[in-house]
């Protein structure tokens, strides 16, 4: 405390500085009405009986702050939840629509288009049995979170685009840095790819992140065959351009992105792994 304190005797105003002010800013009293406060006198009003450096005070203070903040955050989160959930839902729906080559649907039309196109969001298991028929819309396959996808719980979207039946299968996997996921739309023959959509959480901008782009990456999947020629395994592959892979048919082959080998390897593994769970469904014809 380098500065001295002066109290106005008329109104009690306290001035901090080296000398008393010429005039009291509150009651206009002259400098002579100011008296210097010594350290002992100044402590009384400042502390107000609370020792802000004490351990008890510190602990109680931090507890109160934490409780207040926790309640505040919980409240805001609850209030905004319906709105943000709706956004997440619309985002997911527009991704599914993108796989069906219904890209650039206006945000406000997504729900409507989705309701028109998707007939049922089924849940099937790896033996091809329908666990939930998804007739109640958004309750069954759509409600399954990516991390809950397992052999017993495989979401499958049955869609009608221009009068033709399409199937959309969600795929999830790991890219170079973080999660990648997407949707693969199949024609009614359960073999020909109708369209794909991939997106990612944190792939390298300008390289791996290009998997989200239609022209540069996703377009080439259209018309490719999912299964190998004899129909025994998932053969759809993403491999480097020019690399020869023994036994890989041209109809199953997609080109990887230059400079994003690890991300596109991730896409490749994701397709192999996730789609192979649907093998029974894919190979049985109704």
């Amino acid at each position: 405390m380098a500065t001295k304190k002066f109290r106005c005797k008329v109104c009690g105003y306290i001035h901090e500085g080296d000398a008393a002010p010429e005039k009291c800013p509150q009651c206009q009293a002259p400098a002579s009405e100011f008296e210097e406060i010594t350290e002992g006198g100044a402590e009384k009003p400042a502390k107000k009986g609370l020792n802000t450096d004490g351990n008890t005070y510190t602990i109680i203070y931090s507890c109160i702050v934490v409780v207040i903040v926790a309640f505040l955050l919980a409240f805001v989160s609850k209030v905004l939840e319906p709105q943000s959930m709706a956004n997440v839902r619309i985002d997911k729906k527009s991704q599914i629509l993108a796989a069906l080559n219904l890209r650039d649907v206006e945000k406000k039309d997504v729900e409507k288009t989705y309701a028109e196109v998707i007939v049922a969001d089924e849940v099937i298991d790896k033996d091809g049995n329908v666990v939930k028929d998804g007739k109640s819309k958004d309750q069954d396959g759509f409600a399954v979170e990516d991390k809950n996808i397992s052999d017993e719980c495989l979401p499958l979207y049955v869609c009608q685009v221009n009068g033709e039946t399409k199937y959309v299968i969600p795929v999830t996997g790991k890219g170079l840095w973080d999660a990648i996921w997407g949707y693969v739309a199949l024609n009614a023959d359960k073999n020909t790819v109708y369209g794909v959509y991939f997106t990612h959480k944190g792939e390298t901008a300008g390289l791996g992140a290009l998997i989200t782009e239609y022209e540069k990456f996703q377009k080439q999947f259209e018309g490719k065959k999912l299964l190998s020629a004899d129909g025994s395994a998932i053969a759809l592959s993403v491999v480097k351009k020019g690399k020869t892979v023994v036994g890989l048919d041209e109809a199953n082959r997609c080109d990887a992105l230059t400079g994003a080998t690890l991300t596109t390897n991730g896409v490749h593994n994701m397709l192999q792994e996730c789609l192979s769970r649907y093998m029974t469904f894919l190979t049985t014809n109704e």
Binding site: T52, D53, Y57, Y61, S62, V69, L72, V76, K107
Partner: protein
């Protein structure tokens, strides 16, 4: 009312916009400035979010500054900032989902933005609520200003658009004009930022000499 907008208070608000700009002069908060300025829209949203958060965290810290135990003051400041950032990010998720996806982690990283901690420690701990509020708002807007300038240049030269609208006509492209892909890379943001700081300093130096 006149006291609320006294000369000192106006200076507190306007200094960070120009002479004491957090990015151009104090060189704080650069990392997020590089990451979110590839287009104008995220730059604006990011700048406004930071302005709101600095203003209100300054206000809150200033209101409780006398009760904060000295030994845990940084933690208390962080808790307040973190709470505000979480609220802002939830609001963005609810009402501007696309932008919040675009900004991704950078909204959360506002917590560690040096501007915030700097202003809280240097200003809000020692000044009244109103001055602190103005100071926070001024610093946030000063940050936003630089972000928008860099974002404008990068979007215009990198994509030929502003706020998503194509402004460079197709005839230019037909004549052989090309978008500068470099502009969308973070490295160009650093160079542009350097140019902004250069222009800013050169201009202010000239003014001082007069």
């Amino acid at each position: 009312m006149s006291k609320l907008f006294s000369k000192e208070n106006r200076a507190v608000f306007s200094a960070p916009l120009n002479l004491d700009n957090p990015i151009a002069v104090q060189v704080l908060g650069i990392c997020s400035a590089l990451a979110v300025t590839s287009q104008m829209q995220p730059a604006i949203v990011m700048g406004l979010s930071v302005a709101v958060i600095t203003a209100f965290s300054n206000l809150i810290i200033s209101l409780i500054r006398k009760t904060i135990p000295n030994r845990i003051r940084i933690i208390v400041q962080l808790v307040v900032v973190a709470a505000l950032v979480t609220i802002v990010s939830m609001v963005l998720k609810a009402f501007a989902y696309d932008v919040s996806v675009q900004l991704s982690v950078y909204v959360g990283l506002i917590i560690t933005n040096c501007i915030l901690m700097g202003r809280l420690e240097a200003f809000a701990m020692m000044n009244g609520p109103w001055e602190s509020f103005l100071d926070g708002l001024g610093n946030g807007l000063g940050y936003a200003l630089v972000l928008v300038v860099v974002g404008t240049v990068r979007e215009l030269l990198g994509n030929g658009s502003l706020l998503g609208f194509q402004v460079i006509p197709q005839s230019f492209y037909d004549m052989g004009y090309m978008n500068n892909g470099m502009m969308t890379m973070p490295a160009m943001a650093l160079i542009l930022l350097g140019c902004v700081i250069w222009v800013h300093r050169a201009y202010n130096e000239k003014k001082e000499k007069k």
